[in-house]
């Protein structure tokens, strides 16, 4: 790093969240101090077999762990706090500041992962200023988003103020009445903002994102029209939406049964902290709800994205023990499918309909709005803060480009912004912004074992296994190069109609011939058979077997050939090279 420790520049290094949606993680570095802003997780894409969680590569943080002074959390969504528990296993973060709801959710995660003693969590209030290290003073500025208790931050640095929007939309009528703190943003704009780092999720969407409250009358109408049971699914983390649904349940005289771990969890935390207000008696356990008249029941469930293990998906698959869809049920999807989930969602909808449910879904119903600002929201943020430099983050490449075009349309010069990728080191000085370096920026994968990182090699092996299956062959040889047991063969995930007996015979023959072919050469110059290069012999046999398998099966499965070598040299060691050619014994 050429500019390491320069006091004339700040380094901004996004480790995740760029050219993607998810795992937002941003490093700010000044002199020898690092602060982190959020540390989220991502979810696997197709082909990441067996993977449950995707994390950014944290090599840079591990190598610079001594510089880390603390972390700033903007809000409690998984793509902003979900990575923290994993990171704490690898490096310490002395202190983490964040809003009450986020810290409450995070506390649980850290305890579950057994790392709650590795950091200190401190909650903040609107307009709180917290010092992290000696160079950073961070000001929490209330914004509006789908999650309650969400913030933008102004990072006061020796070079000037950097504003990071976090996730935001401009909602003038938020459900909780907590509006954007325009005054603080405008004051910074007046005094001078060195750089604005802003959420690009909806930068391709024209206009303003509607207020969260706009879904209320539409959901109200749907609820009023439901004759039988109501089943509603939304993002568990959309606290405002959950609030609206609970309000309307009360209005329409329905008791609420909650399904799904994350839904239970978020509601518990939000109620405890006062972000959701409702009476205890609004809720009933599902087994109680099943005894109520249909029109008195609302089931609030996870699974709005068709996630395979979520409650609504299990209901649709008729795998839920306590609840079966029946004619008269109304199911409401108060969420749009995230790209990539579309097929899972529409399949779920189809299955629910086929079981007799009326399903309310789709963009035209007005029962979902985004938590991220569209182009006009983004312009307003730019207009309020009037930044000298601009860094679009939180989005895929074309969204970043679009956001940069929006900023240019408002007069920010093109040379005052950069389109960055994960791992890019952005150097920000008083009069320049540029990319000066790159740190490791791959991904780290966690599978169901949660026992460590799944490496690329393992993933590639899984992809090969999935594609064509695997053929395993075991053979045991003696010190004279004879097969000492019947070779065994096993096909798994291989589509074939070949005759099994014929295949087994051909394999035994191939092994025998390969050994015969190689034995003399491999043993010729040996003083002692103990020096025999079994690995090489194994490789040679494997080559022949691979040829055989491809020809016989007409496909290309993974081949594993296990050659077992004799346990120990016999007391009367057979002399080297005595084996006759063509003597390989073959099971018939």
């Amino acid at each position: 790093m050429s500019q390491n420790g320069s006091s004339n520049s700040i380094k901004i290094i996004p480790l995740g969240g760029l050219h993607e949606i998810g795992k937002n993680t941003c490093v700010f570095e000044y002199n020898d101090e690092i602060i982190l802003l959020d540390a989220g997780l991502g979810f696997p894409t197709n082909g990441m077999h067996g993977i449950q969680i995707v994390l950014p590569d944290t090599t840079y943080l591990r190598e610079n762990r001594h510089k880390i002074k603390g972390m700033i959390v903007t809000h409690g969504h998984e793509d902003h706090i979900g990575g923290i528990a994993f990171h704490l296993k690898q490096f310490d973060i002395p202190v983490i500041y964040g809003p009450r709801l986020a810290m409450s959710l995070l506390q649980d995660k850290l305890e579950e992962a057994g790392v709650s003693d590795r950091t200190e969590l401190r909650t903040v209030q609107p307009r709180d200023m917290v010092r992290v290290g000696s160079s950073f003073l961070v000001e929490y500025i209330r914004n509006t988003h789908s999650m309650a208790d969400s913030y933008s931050v102004a990072i006061h640095t020796p070079l000037g103020v950097i504003i990071h929007t976090g996730d935001f939309k401009i909602d003038h009528t938020p459900v909780d009445g907590e509006t954007v703190d325009f005054q603080r943003l405008a004051d910074h704009g007046e005094k001078g903002v060195l750089c604005l780092i802003s959420d690009s999720t909806n930068s391709e969407v024209p206009g303003f994102t509607p207020s969260e409250k706009s879904v209320l009358p539409n959901l109200d109408r749907v609820f009023a029209g439901a004759q039988g049971r109501l089943l509603v699914t939304t993002f568990a983390s959309s606290v405002h939406r959950v609030n609206i649904i609970l309000q309307l349940a009360k209005k329409h005289g329905r008791s609420v049964a909650i399904l799904g771990r994350s839904m239970l969890n978020v509601i518990a935390h939000a109620r405890k902290l006062g972000y959701i207000h409702c009476e205890d008696d609004l809720f009933v356990p599902l087994n109680m709800a099943n005894k109520l008249p249909d029109e008195k029941v609302l089931v609030l469930s996870t699974g709005s994205q068709g996630e395979p293990m979520a409650a609504m998906t299990r209901i649709a698959n008729q795998q839920h023990r306590q609840i079966k869809i029946r004619a008269g049920d109304t199911v409401v999807f108060s969420a749009n499918p995230i790209p990539g989930n579309t097929i899972a969602v529409v399949n779920t909808i189809d299955k629910l309909m086929m079981q007799g449910a009326k399903v309310i879904y789709g963009r035209d119903k007005g029962i979902h709005v985004s938590g991220h600002g569209s182009q006009e929201d983004q312009k307003l943020m730019l207009a309020l803060t009037r930044p000298q430099f601009f860094l679009p983050v939180h989005g895929e490449h074309r969204m970043l480009v679009k956001h940069s075009e929006t900023a240019q349309s408002m007069g920010v010069p093109a040379e005052n912004m950069v389109i960055v990728d994960n791992g890019d080191v952005v150097e920000l000085t008083r009069d320049s912004i540029r990319i000066i370096d790159k740190v490791p920026s791959g991904i780290e994968l966690v599978d169901s074992s949660h026992s460590g990182i799944v490496h690329d090699r393992v993933l590639k092996e899984r992809q090969q296994l999935a594609e064509d299956g695997i053929v395993t062959i075991a053979a045991a040889l003696s010190w004279t190069g004879e097969l000492i047991a019947k070779p065994e063969i096993h096909l798994r995930g291989v589509a074939t109609s070949v005759d099994r007996e014929r295949l087994e015979k051909a394999i035994a023959q191939t092994i025998g011939l390969a050994v015969t072919d190689r034995w003399a050469e491999l043993t010729r110059s040996l003083d002692n058979l103990a020096e025999l290069d079994w690995k090489r012999l194994q490789g040679d046999i494997e080559t022949e077997l691979r040829r055989l398998i491809r020809r016989e099966l007409q496909s290309n499965p993974t081949l594993v050939f296990l050659l077992q070598t004799p346990l120990e040299l016999p007391v009367a060691s057979p002399s080297v090279g005595t084996r006759r050619r063509s003597s390989a014994k073959v099971a018939s």
Copy 2:
């Protein structure tokens, strides 16, 4: 089948295309005669590892092969003709009627599969009437669709006329000037249509689908604005779109290089038959195009859906040998992503942009329209044909339901229509429509080996392998239950950080202990060791190994344990039961 052979009813059995988009295949049966309408293929969904093609279960057709009199093809899309070559390997179809372009494409497919002698292909013209078997007279009625040379059919049966729309939209200004034959449809409506079977793909979309010609001025504008090279991708099978692109290439003085096998194939067939008109000198090979000035080049490519192996995807991945994206290139996606392909498409767009291309994409650009009619097109079809009974096909469940609601809104009584699933046997009489039975309706999967059907079991094995990988263990035992070679272990696709040496030792110990435990009992009552139940011993050892693996690896990989048995009984057979307990020898 209770109603088999009744002359008062026709059976309609859709084997594919319902509750899904794809593999359209429909059976019409009267007395002892079957005709087929189309036989398409589908593509794999997530989790169908290694699968390239999905076909409908054809058990019913195989069992009733003697009844099959012929097939009616409506148009040449893969989801309507792609299954035929596979089916002909299993049962004969005496004759296949279809439009010229479809038959031309089909001829190639049958030759490639080596089954062109298994049927006879006959081309039809608009308003042709063809007799199939003794009961069916089929009339070809021109319609409009994204594929040239597309038809609806009126099937004249002893009970009345059944109209199957095939795929259609109402395009009053088709690119080839061949409009919908409203006159024949209206005439049938006047004389009486027993049943309308209609395309439901866009039944959730309000309004009319715009004319194919509407994309022309928008593409023209995009082409006019391109400074450097133009790269355009669309569906190869959208002959009209390809025509428009070629026209505009000529207008803007650009030579066309074609990339992708299916694009080359469809253009060759369509030109040969006169569905695409253009001079030979419009086309240049890519290596020639690379020598022309940028503004004189248009590359027309497959890959509009981000398919991994398609040309545009390989260009985006910088894997294409002959063409690299550079600043100044304009790439046009003249196609919308099909749900399920969205992520692949936007990733491709991002990669192209990152290499410097300007990418034109998205619904707001007016550079793509659907080939399927929306609600108003569907209403017009209902109004023209005035059917007594209605059967919505070609769509997912909620689309079928929506289409049935549209029909009801126009006065078709709800009891005169059925929502069916693949395999449902619909009985149609002069005064009723109902589902009376179900035939096998699963799917058949073909993988890259094309050597046969991939069974559910194999697919499940692949899913397990993909999820957690596989551990293979090989051991060879002697007639005395001793390990006669060092047990071998192989991990593939398994994420673990366990100590390999320790694991190998534990495995050898576990095998030894398990053998010791079981040997006495297994050999006790045997007269001859040759009768030893090795399978049972293997199973017992496997159980112990599975426990060990789960505990040590903290995950649940597939376990394959290959136990090799001795080749033959030694001449001096060891007597039964002589083995001492605890003598299992373990490699150290």
